[in-house]
């Protein structure tokens, strides 16, 4: 494994790992606050039980998110000093705000976790909500920074140096809005479906059904609304990509030849050698329409770009299809959920479907990030700096890779094991 590949792989799984915990940390406090709110309003002990169950989950996942986020802030320099040397001054601003928001989140979570008997109930409730708000804000700042890598702005690039730096313009780059909107909804959606699905599973097991039903309703209300909004936001995001990064869009769609009235492919595997799409179902004109609201619009294909500037087409395309397919299914499930919620009837087949969808929101989330990151290659700063020019000169990066791979695999295993123990302990309590 060469150093560049090892560094990319390390960054890839560090981000892929962190994003799960970050998504939980910035959305689950809202579910928790909703349950806590109902407890304070209705004095129904089940809501208190639920708040505390979720709180323990948040505590564990937040801690893993905090330390894996620390790893990332160091890795920016450990793996990509060539990038940070220039980018730090340009795009540090959202990180400095993220630091502030994250700091507030850390204070708020300390207050909420340990403050049950030490604060007035509604003040205590407010600290829980603050965990969510500041977490959500951190997420927006970090994704805005990523947006800059896709649509760099706020500087002039002269002879390999950034001049006329404007950090505000860099933060509000052309990709920040659609990316943050898309990601924040994705987090709500992924966590809503995962938590809702776990409670659907526990409901089906037959114990403490009324509690699990309450839990499922809260979590999925967030998840369903986000899932229904997501296809529209996703469409908007794709239209922005079509303008900002046509090569990425072409890779996402497996679109090799520039043409008017371009077809959209459902499924299929792009064959890079013959520059054709295999086994896909073409829908003529639809890609042009989706990208530019016009069935006859010209969509740039990969043929517009020199071969060495192509992103890995197969990975980008398949990840994109996975994301879209799961997103569509979740939007449908979301509509179904809202209908069933009005009737308050919960047929077993629907609950079983929810169980099946426990991991799907996260799969879609990861797939989406693969599209964003792999689809930007070979660039680290789109159109400005190649990833290979940013990598650290330190040799032997594969050992770094193995080390962190081992640590993160172990942590994933332990986290799942711990969450399982939480659920087991809760179940045991309901039995006895």
């Amino acid at each position: 494994m060469d150093d560049l590949l090892a560094a990319r792989a390390t960054m890839g799984f560090s981000l892929g790992f962190h994003i799960i915990f970050a998504a939980v940390g910035m959305t689950m406090p809202f579910f928790m606050s909703a349950a806590h709110y109902y407890f304070l309003k209705k004095k129904d002990e089940e809501f208190l039980e639920l708040t505390k169950m979720w709180m323990k989950g948040v505590a564990i996942l937040f801690a893993v998110g905090a330390v894996s986020g620390t790893v990332l802030s160091f890795e920016l320099g450990l793996l990509w000093p060539g990038f940070m040397k220039h980018a730090g001054a340009i795009i540090g601003m959202p990180f400095s705000w993220e630091g502030t928001a994250f700091f507030l989140e850390a204070v708020a979570i300390g207050l909420f976790l340990y403050g049950w008997k030490r604060m007035k109930p509604w003040v205590h409730w407010g600290t829980g909500l603050l965990v969510g708000i500041s977490g959500f804000a951190s997420g927006i700042f970090v994704v805005a920074a990523n947006g800059w890598m896709n649509a760099p702005s706020g500087f002039d690039w002269v002879n390999g140096q950034a001049v006329n730096i404007d950090p505000v313009a860099a933060m509000f780059n052309k990709a920040w809005f659609h990316q943050t909107l898309h990601m924040q909804l994705a987090a709500l959606q992924a966590v809503g479906f995962a938590v809702g699905g776990i409670h659907a599973f526990l409901y089906l097991r037959g114990k403490a059904q009324s509690l699990h039903l309450k839990a499922m309703k809260i979590a999925l209300s967030f998840g369903a609304v986000a899932a229904i909004a997501q296809p529209f936001v996703g469409h908007f995001a794709a239209q922005r990509v079509a303008v900002l990064q046509p090569a990425k869009l072409a890779a996402m769609e497996g679109h090799f030849k520039t043409e008017k009235g371009a077809s959209l492919y459902i499924g299929g595997i792009p064959d890079v050698e013959t520059q054709t799409m295999k086994w896909g179902i073409p829908l003529p004109g639809l890609l042009s329409f989706l990208a530019f609201d016009d069935f006859n619009a010209e969509v740039k294909g990969l043929d517009q770009f020199p071969r060495e500037l192509w992103p890995p087409v197969v990975i980008t395309h398949i990840s994109f299809q996975v994301m879209v397919a799961l997103g569509t299914a979740m939007a449908a499930l979301g509509v179904l959920f809202l209908i069933l919620l009005r009737k308050d009837r919960w047929p077993a087949w629907f609950l079983k479907l929810l169980v099946l969808f426990i991991p799907m929101g996260f799969v879609a989330l990861e797939a989406g990030w693969i599209v964003t990151e792999v689809g930007r290659q070979p660039w680290i700063i789109y159109g400005i700096m190649k990833t290979r020019d940013a990598v650290t000169p330190v040799p032997g990066m594969k050992y770094h890779f193995y080390l962190f791979l081992f640590v993160y695999l172990a942590l994933s295993f332990i986290t799942v094991w711990l969450l399982r123990r939480q659920i087991l302990a809760a179940q045991r309590k309901f039995e006895g």
């Binding site: 450990l78 000093p81 001054a89 540090g92 705000w97 630091g99 700091f103 650290t392 123990r421 302990a425």
Partner: protein
Amino acid sequence: MVEVLLFFIGASLLLYVLLGGADYGAGILEMLPAGEHRHAQKKVINEAMGPVWEANHMWLILVVVILFMGFPLVFTTLMTSLHTPMVALLLGIVVRGCAFTFRHYDAIQEPHSQKVYTVLFAASSLWTAFWLGVIAASLNRGAVDLTALNFYDAYVAPWWGLYPTAMGVFVICIFAFLASVYLVGETVSAELRKLFLRRAYFFNIAVMVSGGLVFAASAFENRYLFTAFFRNPLTVSMMAMATLLFVLLWFFIRKSRTLLTRAVAAGQVALILAGWYLLHAPNALITQQGPISFYDAAAPEATLQQLVVALVVGSVFIFPSLFYLLKVFKSDSAQKF
């Protein structure tokens, strides 16, 4: 602007050492045999650290963010030349934060898994503190070689040696000393107070001995540092004051003045940290090719301005909420003032 940022870096580092450092120290204390008090000690540490450790950890993140936004050259040079100690530090941070949280929030509390968490928490506290010291020493050691052509000179020599090792041990002792002094005020049990006082005595001596070792090691391997130290009257007087304050510290401990004791211990550590920084101010890093000063490495003015705005606005939110956090959780111990 650079001065304002230097103030924020200094303040964040100080708070990280005083607050986060004590959390490391608590973990280090759990390595020592405590016999029948083991369980009670764990409980006190859990209660003292639980609500605050995430916030205390944030000071380090803040330093990292200020460095990479305001002084990118310092950040990237550190992350390249000191790659290995940084990775070691990160590893420790990950294991430590997880082990501490998991120990508390594992839904099924059983002796075996609790022991594993405790061992991991304690060992990683010691480990991380050590590497913090190594990194601190490497900043002013002058062994970073920006033009090195072989692996050893470029990535090992900057941090490998007696002086960084001694500094690592020194930082371990300082953190354990701070934790012992703070923890005395966190419990009402006379037995436990005695235990923490014994620890405070022990680490008081350990701080002095290892501090001497740091000087001996730096003199042994790097004359520049040693002479620079004695040439700077401010640094010398700070170290002298830090040492003399031990008399006051033990006076307050005898009188059971919890807050004053903590304030003196914190003051001593602040003096040591300030003295260490003054040795090479306003340089961030000494390399074989000369020093890299914060002024040379600073980002353009527009960036620095935005960074200061974020820090000032952030402070307006963070400090009141931090005070509130301390008020909610630490007011019991303050009553013994």
